[in-house]
C-alpha cells in the first residue's frame, strides 16, 4: 500500500476527515509504516505515550488491566485511530492494544503530531471538534446512566 492509499484511510478517520489531502499526505509521509504479527502488542497500559497509531489493516483488541485480570473492552480495525489521547495530554497509556490478526498501521510519533497541530490551525480545530464531540458523547452517556440509576 502506498502513500495515496494511506491518505485515503486517514480521510476515513473522523478527526482527519475535514483536513486537506496535502496535509494528510504530509502526516502520512512523516509517519512510519509498521506491522505487527498476531499477538504482538502495539503499546501497553501504563507505558509512556510516544506515538499514536492508525490501523490500516487487521483487527486488534483493546485490553484493560484491572488487578490480575485482563478485560477486552473493544475490538478495533481498519481506520481506527488509537493512542491519540495519550500523546495530546502526554499521559501514560490507558489501555493495551494487542494485534489479533496481522496488523498494518501508521505510527504517528508525538513530535510529528504536535508539530502538525502547531503548524496547521485547521488541524488543531478539527482535533478540538473531535474531542468536544467525545465529551458530549460521554456527557450524554453519563446522563443516561444517572437517569437509569
Amino acid at each position: 500500500m502506498s502513500l495515496k492509499l494511506e491518505v485515503q484511510t486517514l480521510q476515513r478517520v473522523p478527526m482527519f476527515a475535514n483536513i486537506e489531502a496535502a496535509r494528510l499526505k504530509l502526516l502520512a509521509f512523516a509517519s512510519e509504516r509498521v506491522s505487527f504479527p498476531p499477538g504482538d502488542i502495539l503499546f501497553r497500559q501504563g507505558d509512556d505515550s510516544d506515538a499514536a497509531y492508525v490501523i490500516l489493516k487487521g483487527q486488534a483488541n483493546v485490553n484493560l488491566n484491572s488487578g490480575d485480570q485482563v478485560i477486552t473492552v473493544a475490538s478495533i480495525g481498519e481506520g481506527s485511530f488509537v493512542g491519540e489521547m495519550g500523546i495530546i495530554s502526554d499521559t501514560p497509556r490507558t489501555a493495551t492494544i494487542e494485534a489479533v490478526e496481522e496488523i498494518e498501521a501508521l505510527r504517528i510519533s508525538r513530535d510529528v503530531f504536535i508539530n502538525m497541530i502547531k503548524e496547521f490551525p485547521m488541524m488543531a480545530l478539527e482535533v478540538m471538534k473531535e474531542l468536544v464531540s467525545r465529551i458530549e458523547n460521554t456527557n450524554a452517556k453519563l446522563a443516561a446512566v444517572s437517569r437509569k440509576g
Binding site: 502513500l3 509504516r33 505487527f36
Partner: protein
C-alpha cells in the same frame, strides 16, 4: 629557571658555541685569501705580470714564510711551486678560485647548520623544561592558568628564541671583529677622519637603542595582547554552549574585535617607530660620507691628506656601516628575545612549584600499603581570606576501612576530597597514610598506591582502551621491539634527548603496568578491563561500540574470517526463524528494497565523500553508468515525481521547520528551486532543464527507499535496470575510483562497514515490530557460539572517545574514569562526588559493586546523597569545615544527631 637568557644559553651550549666560534675564526683567512685570488687572476694571469720578464713559465703555488725582523728576517720557501705556462697558469688559478668557493661554501654550510641545530636544540630544551614545569605547577596555581595561553607560550612565543640562540655569541664576535678592523684601518689612514667615523658610530650606538627602547615596550604589550587573545579564543571555544544558551555571541564578537583593535594599534605604533628608527639609521650612515667628502676634501685640498689615502678611507668606510648596523640589529634582537624570554619564564615560575623529586619514578613501591589513615589537627585556610575550609580535623581509621564523608553542601566535604588528592595543602596539621606523610609522598607512591576521582572525569583523545589503561602508565616497563633501522633512529633520538635535557624514556616502550591491574601482560589485560567495565556497568556500551566499530580485514585477516563465519551463521538462523523476509540480505543479483537506490547502485560502502549518496548525481562516472544503463530518463522522471510530492506536502511550512530536516528529501532552502524546476518540466518538458536542474532532480531518487517513503515508484523493470547498472558500475570502475568504494561481497569482509553490518549483511526493513530486539538476541547468540564475544568487546575498546572524551556521554565519561581508577587496583581509592552525575539507581549499584570489588582495600567516598553512606563501614559528618560526628552508620544513627537528621530528611 635561569632568568638571563645569555646565561641560560651559555650554560647549556658553551661547548658548541666555542666550537662554532673557532670554526668562524678559522674560516676568516680562507675568506680573505679568496678575495685576493680574483686580483691574481686579473693581474698575474690575464695581464701577464707574472710573465713580464719574458719568461714563459712562472711558479704556481709558491709559498714563502717570512720571519719577522727580530727573528732575523729570513725567508723560508715552504713550497717552490710548479712552473707553468700562461694558459695553464690561468686555468690553475681559476681552479684555485673554484676550490675557495667550495671551501668557503663548506664553511658557511657548516656554520649555518651548526647555528641552526644549536638554536633548535636550545629551543627543544627550553620548550621541554617549560612543559616539564607545567607538570609540576602546584594545584592551586592551576586555577588561574589558561590552557590556550600556556600552549601559545610554549609553542609560539619561544619560537624566535631559536633563531637568535645560534647567533647569540657568534654574531657579535664576527661583526665586531669586522667593524674594529675597518675602524682601525681608517684611523691608521687619517686620525681625524677616524675620529669623525668613530663619532658618528658612537652617536649611532647611543641614539638608536634609545629610540628602540619604546619599541621594546610596545613589543612586550603586543606579546601580552596576543597571548590573551589566544587565551580568550580558547575559552570561547571551550565554553561555546554557554554563549549559545545566553545569546552572547555578539558580545563575544565585540570583545574579540576590541582585542584585535588593540593589537592593530600596537602593531601600527610599532611600525611607525620601527621605520622612523630605520630612517634615522640610514641618515646617520650617509652623514659620514658627507663629512668625509667635506672634511677629507678640505684636508686633501690643503694638502694635509693625500688623495690616495682619502680614497682608501672611503673604501674602508664602505665596510663599516653594515657590521655596525647589524650589530645594532643584533642588540635589538637580544633585548627583544631577552624580554620575551623573561616574560615566558615568569609565567612558568609560580610559587610552590613542586620539587622534581616528587615525580621521580624510582621512588615508587609495588608493596601494598597497609596501616592507619591518620589526620591530626588538619586545617586548610581559604586562600581568598574566608573562614577556613577545614578546621582541626582528626580522624584515625585502619587503612582498609570504607569511609563515607557526608554533610551539607559547602560544609567542607568537597575540600576534604581535594585535600586527600593533594589539590589542597594543609596549612597546619598532618595527614599520615600508612606511614607516609601525605605532603611529602612522591607521586610515584601516591599515583600508584592511591587513586582519586573528582566530579570531573577527564578523558584524553584516543581509544577507550588507551583511556582505561592511562592510569597504569607510570614508567616504561618493557622496551619496544625495533627493527635495525628503528633501533638506529631510537639511539639517535636518545642521544639528542640527553643533549637537550629532555626525557630519555621511550614513548614507544610498553608503559602499561600489567601487574598492578592484576594481569600478566598484553594477552590478558582485556580480562581485567572487562571486569572493571562490568563493575561500572559500561560493558553493554562497549559491546555496542564493538558492534558499530570497524576492523581492518588487511590487518587482522583471522578475525575478519571469524566474523564472516558469523555472517553465514546469521543467515542460517534467520532462515530457521523465518526472518529472511524481514532482513533482506545483500545479494549481488537482487535489488535490495530496504536500502536506497543509491546504495543499490553502488552496492558497497562509500569511502570518503566521492560516492556519498548526496554526491552521486554530480559524479561523472555515475553519470556514465546511468547513460549506459538507460537509467537517466527513468530516474529523472522519478526525481520530478519526488520533487512534486515534496513541494505539495511541505508547502506552507515555515522554512527551517523541523519536519523538513527529519523527513523531507529537500531542504527548505531548496524547495522554491525545485518548485520552479517542476514548473519548467511540466510546461516545456525535458529539454527546458539546465544541467544544474537535472543534477538537482537526479539527486532525489538516489535517497529513495520504497518501504520507508512509500511513493510507489519502483517497478520490476526499473530494479532490474538498477541491478544491471550495479554490475556495470563494478566491472568498469577505474583503479583510481576503486579506492572510493568498498563493494559488498557475500564472501568478503567489508573493512569500511561496521561489524554488525558485516555480520547481518543485509538491511532490516522499516517498521517491523520487535525485529531489532530479535536481531540483537541473534547477535549475542552467534558471538557466544563462535566465541567471538571477547573480540567484539575488543573492537568496542578501540572506540575513539574524541577530544576530551566528547564522543562519550557525561555518564559514560564518569563510568570510564571510575573504571580507570579501579583497573589500577589502588590501595586507597578516593572518590570526591565522582558518581553524583549518575542516576540514583546506577550510583547505588555502582558504589555497591565498587565496595564489593575492594573488600581488601581502602575506599574514601565523599557522597552527595547521605543514604549511600548507610552501607559504608565508617562515616564522618562535616559541617562548617569541622568533623561534627564520626563513627559507624549505626552508631551515628543511634546518636540522633546531624547525620541521623540528614539521612531522615
Amino acid at each position: 629557571m635561569e632568568r638571563n637568557l645569555f646565561k641560560y644559553v651559555w650554560h647549556h651550549s658553551r661547548k658548541e658555541q666555542i666550537t662554532v666560534l673557532s670554526v668562524v675564526l678559522i674560516s676568516l683567512p680562507f675568506y680573505f685569501y679568496s678575495l685576493t685570488v680574483p686580483k691574481l687572476i686579473v693581474n698575474q694571469a690575464i695581464q701577464g705580470e707574472a710573465f713580464q720578464d719574458g719568461t714563459e713559465k712562472a711558479p704556481f703555488f709558491e709559498i714563502n714564510l717570512g720571519l719577522p725582523e727580530f727573528l732575523g728576517g729570513q725567508s723560508f720557501q715552504l713550497s717552490s711551486g710548479i712552473m707553468l705556462e700562461q694558459i695553464p697558469y690561468l686555468i690553475s688559478l681559476c681552479l684555485l678560485f673554484l676550490a675557495f668557493v667550495f671551501i668557503n661554501g663548506g664553511f658557511k654550510f657548516y656554520i649555518n647548520l651548526s647555528k641552526g641545530a644549536m638554536g633548535e636544540r636550545m629551543l627543544r630544551r627550553l620548550r621541554y623544561s617549560l612543559f616539564e614545569r607545567v607538570l609540576r605547577f602546584p594545584p592551586f596555581h592551576m586555577k588561574n592558568v589558561k590552557s590556550a595561553e600556556t600552549a601559545t607560550m610554549i609553542k609560539d612565543e619561544v619560537e624566535p628564541l631559536g633563531g637568535f640562540i645560534g647567533d647569540a655569541f657568534v654574531q657579535p664576535v664576527f661583526l665586531g671583529g669586522q667593524a674594529i678592523t675597518a675602524m682601525a684601518f681608517i684611523v691608521v689612514q687619517s686620525f681625524w677622519l677616524g675620529l669623525i667615523a668613530g663619532g658618528i658610530v658612537a652617536v649611532q650606538t647611543a641614539i638608536i637603542p634609545r629610540l628602540r627602547r619604546r619599541l621594546l615596550i610596545l613589543g612586550k604589550q603586543r606579546q601580552l595582547a596576543a597571548r590573551e587573545l589566544a587565551g580568550r579564543v580558547g575559552e570561547v571555544v571551550d565554553g561555546v554552549t554557554v554563549i549559545h544558551v545566553h545569546d552572547t555571541s555578539n558580545y563575544e564578537r565585540a570583545e574579540v574585535s576590541a582585542r584585535l583593535g588593540v593589537i592593530f594599534g600596537l602593531r601600527y605604533a610599532i611600525f611607525k617607530r620601527k621605520f622612523a628608527v630605520k630612517f634615522m639609521n640610514n641618515f646617520l650612515a650617509q652623514v659620514t660620507p658627507f663629512l668625509f667628502y667635506l672634511v677629507g676634501g678640505y684636508f686633501a685640498i690643503t694638502g694635509r691628506l693625500d688623495i690616495g689615502q682619502l680614497v682608501a678611507v672611503i673604501a674602508a668606510y664602505k665596510d663599516l656601516p653594515s657590521p655596525i648596523k647589524e650589530l645594532i640589529d643584533w642588540d635589538q634582537r637580544r633585548l627583544d628575545v631577552q624580554i620575551k624570554y623573561e616574560q615566558v619564564i615568569n609565567q612558568f615560575d609560580p610559587d610552590g612549584l613542586m620539587p622534581a623529586e616528587l615525580q621521580d619514578p624510582n621512588l615508587g613501591t609495588d608493596e601494598v600499603l597497609d596501616g592507619m589513615l591518620k589526620l591530626s589537627n588538619v586545617t586548610v585556610n581559604d586562600k581568598s581570606g574566608g573562614p577556613p575550609l577545614l578546621m582541626a580535623l582528626n580522624l584515625e581509621q585502619p587503612f582498609k576501612t570504607h569511609i563515607a564523608i557526608v554533610g551539607p553542601l559547602g560544609g567542607g566535604k568537597e575540600a576534604f576530597g581535594r585535600l586527600m588528592a593533594r589539590f589542597e595543602w594543609p596549612d597546619s596539621g598532618r595527614i599520615n597514610i600508612a606511614g607516609h606523610v601525605l605532603e611529602d609522598t612522591p607521586e610515584a607512591i601516591s599515583g600508584r598506591r592511591f587513586s582519586y576521582l573528582g566530579p570531573e572525569a577527564v578523558m584524553f583523545q584516543g581509544t577507550l582502551f588507551d583511556n582505561l589503561v592511562y592510569g597504569l602508565k607510570h614508567r616504561p616497563l618493557k622496551e619496544a621491539s625495533y627493527n635495525q633501522q628503528e633501533l638506529v633512529n631510537r639511539k639517535t633520538e636518545f642521544v639528542l634527548a640527553r643533549r637537550t635535557g629532555s626525557s630519555l624514556d621511550d614513548i614507544n616502550a610498553d608503559w602499561i603496568d600489567y601487574d598492578s591491574a592484576g594481569a600478566s601482560g598484553p594477552e590478558d589485560i582485556e580480562d581485567q578491563v572487562l571486569r572493571v567495565m562490568k563493575i561500572v556497568q559500561l560493558d553493554g556500551d562497549v559491546y555496542g561500540f564493538g558492534l558499530r566499530g570497524k576492523i581492518d580485514a588487511g590487518n587482522s585477516p583471522e578475525l575478519s574470517e571469524q566474523f564472516l563465519e558469523a555472517r553465514v551463521l546469521m543467515r542460517e538462523l534467520l532462515r530457521d526463524q523465518g526472518m529472511t523476509d524481514l532482513i533482506e540480505a545483500f545479494d549481488p543479483d537482487v535489488y535490495n528494497k530496504n536500502t536506497s537506490i543509491g546504495e543499490n547502485l553502488l552496492f558497497g560502502t562509500p569511502v570518503g565523500d566521492r560516492f556519498k549518496e548526496k554526491n552521486l548525481a554530480g559524479d561523472p562516472y555515475i553519470r556514465e553508468v546511468l547513460r549506459t544503463s538507460k537509467l537517466r530518463r527513468p530516474l529523472l522522471q522519478m526525481g520530478v515525481t519526488i520533487a512534486e510530492t515534496m513541494v505539495e506536502i511541505f508547502e506552507g511550512l515555515p522554512p527551517g521547520h523541523e519536519l523538513f530536516g527529519q523527513f523531507s528529501f529537500i531542504s527548505s532552502d531548496d524547495l522554491g528551486d525545485y518548485e520552479k524546476i517542476v514548473g519548467r518540466w511540466n510546461n516545456a518538458g525535458h529539454n527546458s532543464l539546465s544541467k544544474d536542474d537535472r543534477r538537482m532532480l537526479l539527486s532525489l531518487p538516489f535517497m529513495y527507499v520504497e518501504p520507508r517513503h512509500r511513493l510507489g515508484l519502483l517497478s520490476d523493470e526499473l530494479t532490474d535496470k538498477i541491478v544491471w547498472a550495479r554490475k556495470f558500475f563494478a566491472d568498469n570502475i577505474s583503479e583510481d575510483d576503486h579506492e572510493f568504494v568498498e563493494f559488498y561481497d557475500p564472501v568478503r569482509y567489508n573493512s569500511e562497514a561496521s561489524l554488525q553490518d558485516n555480520v547481518l549483511f543485509g538491511r532490516v526493513g522499516p517498521g517491523q515490530s520487535g525485529v531489532q530486539s530479535k536481531v540483537e538476541k541473534l547477535f549475542s547468540e552467534i558471538f557466544d557460539k563462535l566465541g567471538l564475544l571477547d573480540e567484539v568487546y575488543q573492537v568496542g575498546l578501540q572506540f575513539n572517545v574524541g577530544s576530551g572524551g566528547k564522543q562519550l556521554s557525561a555518564v559514560q565519561r564518569v563510568q570510564t574514569a571510575l573504571a580507570r581508577n579501579l583497573l589500577k587496583r589502588p590501595d586507597l581509592l578516593i572518590l570526591n562526588e565522582a558518581t553524583s552525575v549518575l542516576s540514583e539507581r546506577l550510583e547505588r549499584d555502582i558504589i555497591h559493586r565498587i565496595r564489593e570489588d575492594r573488600k581488601d582495600f581502602g575506599v574514601i567516598s565523599v557522597l552527595k546523597s547521605p543514604e549511600l553512606a548507610e552501607e559504608f563501614d565508617y562515616v564522618a559528618y562535616l559541617e562548617d569545615g569541622k568533623i561534627v560526628e564520626q563513627g559507624s552508620p549505626a552508631e551515628l544513627k543511634a546518636k540522633r544527631g546531624s547525620y541521623a537528621a540528614l539521612v531522615a530528611a
